[in-house]
């Protein structure tokens, strides 16, 4: 008869499973695998929250540099002909620019007036396009495994996959969790709040070119010299280059972001040396991830 053998095997298997589960699962269950990361996230979230308030402050009336209505020649440079002060940047031959060939069927222009009004009324139907933001969804909380015999096999299978579900995209394989806590404890960690504040503040002012596939790889590095009051000295310098035809537009957007957000008056003066020269890398890749 096979039956006893079968049930013996089953029983052995279950017991072995139980044992393994007890060894492997139980201690794990007492460790909160996800919460391990919480100290870090909470840290950063708190700082972020603070800086959010800062960055929201309108910076409108203040000006980094007093531009006392610069001499008329300056912003309108390269005036080739000193004739009419009105001439815009010289265009080769402006004359024949617009002479569209109108469609021949003039006879039946169906009440353009009506059309015009209608079109004018066109209400913007959709709100300005919020970009589909592929948010990293919060990881489903790992189920606390109950020691149900029926689920043993499944549990055992899961164990290798289960341990702290670190979001892989962010680790870059670098720090183990303990390391980060150390980092936060030492001097270097102090820069984290500066980095966070600056990153947070400028991200609010940065609108990179959207919808263009080729722009997604365009990282723009900008070097900024700060004055002690957190204002920007001179013009931020774009440090890299690319033959991509969209580079100019992307670079202008990055520089604009830095200037729009200035002054950064929450930067601590007593640590001026840490931030007086700052490089910001604007990387839109994650914004457009499908």
């Amino acid at each position: 008869m096979r039956r006893p053998v079968w049930s013996l095997t089953t029983s052995l298997l279950i017991h072995a499973g139980l044992l393994v589960a007890a060894v492997v699962v139980l201690p794990q269950a007492t460790l909160p695998p996800v919460e391990e990361r919480d100290p870090i996230s909470v840290e950063i979230v708190e700082v972020t929250d603070t800086s959010t308030r800062v960055a929201t402050k309108p910076d409108a009336p203040k000006e980094p540099e007093t531009p006392p209505a610069p001499p008329k020649e300056e912003p309108v440079p390269e005036k080739p002909k000193p004739q009419a002060a009105v001439e815009p940047e010289p265009l080769p031959e402006p004359e024949p620019v617009v002479e569209p060939a109108p469609v021949p069927d003039e006879p039946a222009p169906p009440k353009p007036e009506v059309v015009e009004k209608k079109a004018e009324e066109t209400p913007p139907p959709a709100p300005p396009p919020p970009k589909p933001k592929p948010r990293p969804k919060p990881k489903p909380k790992p189920e606390k495994p109950k020691l149900n015999v029926d689920e043993l096999a499944a549990l055992l299978n899961k164990i290798p996959d289960e341990p702290p579900p670190v979001e892989p995209s962010q680790t870059d394989g670098v720090p183990a969790q303990g390391d980060i806590e150390q980092l936060l404890g030492n001097d270097a960690a102090n820069s984290a709040d500066l980095i966070d504040y600056l990153s947070q503040a400028t991200s609010k002012c940065w609108s990179p070119p959207t919808g263009v596939a080729e722009a997604q790889d365009l990282v723009i590095s900008v070097k900024i010299n700060f004055a002690e009051d957190g204002s920007v000295t001179g013009t931020p310098e774009v440090m890299n280059n690319s033959p991509n035809p969209l580079f100019g537009v992307a670079a202008a957007a990055a520089v604009r972001a830095v200037l729009i957000c200035a002054p950064y008056d929450k930067l601590p003066r007593d640590r001026y040396e840490e931030w007086r020269e700052t490089q910001i890398n604007f990387n839109p890749a994650k914004m457009f991830a499908p």
């Binding site: 940047e89 169906p110 059309v115 066109t122 820069s191 500066l194 263009v212 914004m287």
Partner: protein, 451 residues
Amino acid sequence: MFTKSMISRRSLLAAGAAALALPAGMSSLTRPAAAALVVDVTKGQVAPMPIALPSFIGADATTAELGANITGVVASDLQNSGLFAPLPQESYIEKITNFGQPPRFADWRTIQAQALVTGQIVAQGDGRVRAEFRLWDIFAQAQVIGLQFTTTPKNFRRMGHMIADAIYKALTGEDGYFDTRVVFISEEGPKDKRVKKLSIMDQDGFNVRMLTDGADLVLTPRFSPTSQEITYMSFAGGNPRVYLFNIETGQKEIVGVFPNMTFSPRFSPDGEQVIMSLQNGGNANIYTLDMRSKATRQLTTTAAIDTAPSYSPDGARICFESDRGGGQQIYVMNSDGSGQQRISSGEGRYSTPVWSPRGDHIAFTKFTAGAFSIGVIKPDGSGERILTSGFHNEGPTWAPNGRVLMFFRESPGENGGPQLYSVDLTGYNERLIKTPGFASDPAWSPLLKQG
């Protein structure tokens, strides 16, 4: 909005390493050559750019009015693109009175403008006017572009579109699409007795003109690459045929003489071929017709219905619709008919594939689960995305910059009918294009030739 993930650990490490590299006490003595602090910003705003558009000025009432009208066209184009937010003129602090003078940047910064367009209209004396404008970057305090256009005053809408295109290109890096036209089918009368006329309008729904009188049924108009000619299908004379129509001269001609019905025509990117379907019994195959030699070439030979061919922008490949595998699906092939390969794989029926002018996507109509959707898929069959879905959406056509699509949407019921809509490649910014009556089968022109 902002999460911890936005600071990469790499940047933390980099900053940490930089700090550690300098022994305590040394850091204030020796300043590193590279920037001390490195910050990564990986999230930005996808918000329309606030732009100020004070009415172009003019020396007299006529030019001033023209200036206001042109500015209105520019503002509306930019707004409709979804990428710009024109600021209300009432909020402007500085009043532009002298085009030759730089603006007071601080005043524009105060109202949160990031860009400013100033312009003026000058009467030339020969009945024509010159529009001059400058685009300013408010925060960089610099002129981005300065251009001028000349035309007759009645062409003011086109002038506005050209200025809007120039601004769009300068600020987004992409070509614009405002100075374009759309051909479509105007539909009038009760649902069971629709009169369909070939029609043309500006991209924004203005300047609608009828090109045919509605005596014959017309379908699927398509622009030539020069925008001067349209090819379409008509039932004139009872048998469906592909026609060519010159919008400048009004001349019509039948494309090729075939024993059976021809349909679903489209130009090749160089304008030298028309590609279409030719019926053969219960089947249809895809043919090209050379416009000069009038030679035809058969590209597909299946016992199925192969139709709706559309060239890739480089002319090397063709996408089309076929039911050879059962239901309608999208296929691609080389322009000589070799290498035919199915690329759509989802459930439902796919039809009307159209290759993007940018080459990176193929738009389609999809019918599944009782709904018609407009979607895009990459030419290799990956990345299928639905942009809009509902009772009846059909017939996508691309703006020349490959960023915006137009299609028609039929509303249900006795009094329902088709209307034209546009939507971004992102699936956002859906807009109704107002037409005098019902409208279907839109086809977007290339950018119009200047001059």
